[in-house]
Symmetry: C2
Subunit: 270 residues, 2 copies
């Protein structure tokens, strides 16, 4: 299997995302190795010898994706016997012409706590945890968005992703059997914040499967119960004109991106 290395003097997240996106265009498997925080020439030379060994062992030149603020260390990595992609570099000079000022590489400008929105993101994570599953109703005032839906329709992972990636304060409220009763009506605690509500729904089959993992053969996980709950929440969304999304086929990344696109909610971090 061909090796791919992701190397940086920071987290290497940028190298990983770029390299992964590029390699995902090919229907083959790769063996991935990330080496973050390569901040000394000695460490860089150790990485080079790791790349060399891999080449000698497999006979295939490893793919090396790297970003490096320190130019001296970058030069060492560029001497690796792998196929080296310093993918930011070739865009910088043309971009300098466009923007009209020289670039000023600075370490840890991305993915670090020196980003001015870092504290906002951590506050949003704490907010999401404190306002998960209707546990703390008093703080809805502060919410940027309130995710509603039946238990296990994807609210909690989505609220955490919105917080960590975008600094958005997402509360979440699960509709319970008590809420549903004969017909689900919008609980008064939510009506006050109706403009912040966003509904999630999911296919009955997928919900049944997820709930069965938790409590096999329970009424909670049964198909009739899943179908009934979903029918009630979807009726409510339509009746109250609450925007909503069927999460069945989407990842938290996709659900979050769709929520932002659909609501126009502004993220705190780019």
């Amino acid at each position: 299997m061909r090796r791919a290395f992701y190397i940086s003097d920071g987290t290497a997240i940028t190298s990983e995302v770029f390299g992964h996106a590029l390699l995902s265009l090919f229907p083959v498997e790769f063996e991935h190795t990330t080496v973050p925080f390569v901040e000394t020439e000695q460490h860089a030379r150790e990485v080079i010898s790791q790349i060399k060994k891999s080449y000698e062992k497999t006979g295939e030149r490893p793919l090396v994706f790297y970003t490096m603020v320190n130019a001296d260390i970058g030069r060492i990595i560029s001497s690796s016997p792998g196929i080296n992609y310093n993918f930011l570099d070739q865009f910088v000079v043309p971009l300098e012409k466009v923007i009209g000022i020289p670039s000023k590489p600075k370490k840890h400008r991305t993915h670090s706590m020196h980003e001015k929105t870092y504290d906002i993101r951590i506050e949003a994570v704490n907010y999401a945890l404190a306002n998960d599953d209707g546990s703390n109703l008093k703080d809805f005032q502060e919410a940027d968005i309130i995710l509603v839906g039946v238990s296990r329709s994807g609210k909690t992972p989505t609220s955490l992703y919105l917080a960590l990636q975008y600094g958005i304060k997402a509360a979440n409220y699960p509709f319970t059997e008590e809420d549903i009763g004969d017909i689900l009506k919008l609980p008064p605690v939510l009506r006050r914040f109706k403009q912040k509500l966003f509904g999630l729904t999911i296919s009955a089959e997928r919900l049944h499967a997820i709930r069965s993992e938790r409590r096999a053969n329970s009424r909670y996980a049964s198909m009739p119960q899943c179908r009934m709950e979903l029918r009630e929440v979807e009726n409510l969304y339509r009746k109250e004109k609450i925007p909503f999304l069927n999460s069945t086929k989407y990842s938290v990344e996709e659900i979050s991106a769709k929520i932002l696109a659909q609501t126009g909610l502004k993220r705190k971090k780019y």
Copy 2:
């Protein structure tokens, strides 16, 4: 302020990460707009007219970072009056030569639930929530790593990030005053899993500031209390040879990358 657009027929996360990394090399501010899920030619033409309007209004050509699996839609975006960076494209042909097979672009191969590790990541998030702050001691057996440290030293956001990004099951255990007593000793429940422990510490000043946001003027937030707790945990880490990290200056992304590098823990997702 110059506009930057991030456009894709998927989440646009790849475009954002690449564009953001590139723009962060310049000491200027940009106005960012993401347009994900551009899956029809009509939507693409709407985006083009948005870019045109921005250009006419500001007199500056917007920067357009895009990735597009559908070639027809990609061609429409490439006709925008902005400065267009289809940054994957120019790497694909050389990479095809290296790998020796043609690329097979496929929609939603990254950041979607069709990635085979998606369920592992969601399970890891649920695990982190269920095993947050020592609430559920019985599941340490299942943990890939157990983060330990005093209250508010960064354990919870780090465990959630490890789960969401890497599919790693991270439990976390806060050392409380009861644990500390006269001298902090390793609680028996942790000793059994000693090889999984990873310690976090933080500067007393930063801990004091974070705790003061929560409970101002409390003993919990006081400098002497913060200093005492940190001294005890750091002594314990050294005595028991528990690997540890001072999180004061690091983001969750950096802490997570450092933990992986320091422990050699294998991520479930790349």
